[in-house]
Symmetry: C2
Subunit: 238 residues, 2 copies
């Protein structure tokens, strides 16, 4: 059941088996449903089987910030569950299937099989790398660049999951959500998208993105996929 998509680190058959044997409970969530709410105690993690999810924090004033987007195979909420207390919420983008796994089972496995533990640790570190890139994106790039960058990231990630190609993919995020993910207003997101279209970099229809010229979009968004750490690092010897 559990896709051992963490295989960006080499795991042998026994290890893969152990992962598949993790106790879990399948659930389906509808659009906008919460997997976890801020300030909640949480003692399980969620593995996304299908669908998308995103992390968000709400400021005092009610302003929302989306700080990560997750796709199938991602272990959403290793973070909150290991910390024990949720410092942010996780919400589902569209209907999604999720496997609940008790924290204890995960931690046990991680330390029983160092390779698996290393893979999970590695996973949370890659999340951190993406956070850093988002900080740069929001702090130092113009509206159009931010959007272009985000579109590139989605393209590359979806492609790496076999959910489309980087130059043509479907992605169910509203412009308001894009705004909260880029630190802009919905209005400006719209104008930035239009701008990219006018320059012939992308075209859109029903939340389907088609990239006209990948190389140009990449440059427009100052995008370099290194921060996604998609290729195996070295052996991560244990």
């Amino acid at each position: 059941m559990l896709r051992k998509l963490q295989l960006w680190k080499q795991l042998d058959a026994t290890e893969a088996q152990a992962i598949l044997a993790l106790p879990h409970e399948l659930r389906t969530f509808e659009r906008d449903a919460y997997l976890v709410r801020e300030r909640q105690k949480v003692d399980h993690s969620c593995l996304l089987i299908s669908g998308f999810a995103f992390r968000q924090k709400i400021g005092r004033n009610g302003a929302r910030s989306i700080n990560a987007v997750h796709m199938q195979g991602d272990i959403v909420d290793l973070q909150n569950s290991l910390l024990g207390y949720a410092d942010h919420s996780v919400q589902v983008l569209s209907r999604a299937e999720v496997a609940y796994i008790p924290r204890k089972a995960i931690v046990d496995l991680a330390f029983r099989m160092p390779n698996v533990g290393m893979a999970m640790w590695y996973d949370t570190l890659v999340d951190g790398s993406v956070f850093r890139e988002w900080i740069l994106n929001i702090a130092r790039r113009s509206g159009e660049k931010r959007i272009a960058h985000l579109l590139c990231e989605f393209g590359v990630r979806l492609e790496s999951l076999g959910l489309g190609s980087r130059s043509s993919y479907q992605f169910p995020m509203t412009q308001e959500q894009l705004a909260d993910a880029t630190g802009l207003t919905p209005v400006h997101v719209n104008r930035s998208l239009k701008g990219l279209e006018k320059r012939g970099l992308i075209s859109r229809a029903m939340r389907h993105v088609t990239v006209g010229d990948w190389e140009k979009l990449r440059r427009a968004g100052d995008f370099d996929d290194a921060y996604l750490h998609l290729e195996h690092a070295e052996p991560s010897s244990v």
Copy 2:
């Protein structure tokens, strides 16, 4: 030598002993020296014994983004070293003493003693939590609020390390660096600081910050220290 400052998780004597016994090499860095450079391969981690350091990324256009600030006791660069390849640089703020520890020794220890491993994992997760808060800070707060928030964070962290109190501390960051940490321009940082001063929330002299009214500053910066996870979470049972 190595302060077992990771003791925000309960570790017994043997474990503490093992940490102290980690092989390491002491070095001193001068102001602005690099601990790690972007795109570099790295196979060691650095523990900050004294002084401060910060992480930064540089965009294509040359714009800099500072995405984290570290203080004594922090294990800088667990991130880069475990990932094997540095997606960002780490630079020292002022003269600092650093202990180099080989990656292998760290990983071995982490999996030999699950409590220690958990503590280290936890540590990287807290870093992640701070990244998320910074994203919110930069994406959704005004200039003055961003600065206020950052000053609050520094105050609380320094206090928790016994390096000053939250309402009066010394911190060696230039306004240009503050700008890169908040996504603003140096000029606007200056004006924001002045603004906070005028409102009586802080006063400054030689990079020494005195907080006039902590509660007001906290509110001005929309600050809530939960994201720092300073209090022990629950037992993090292993």
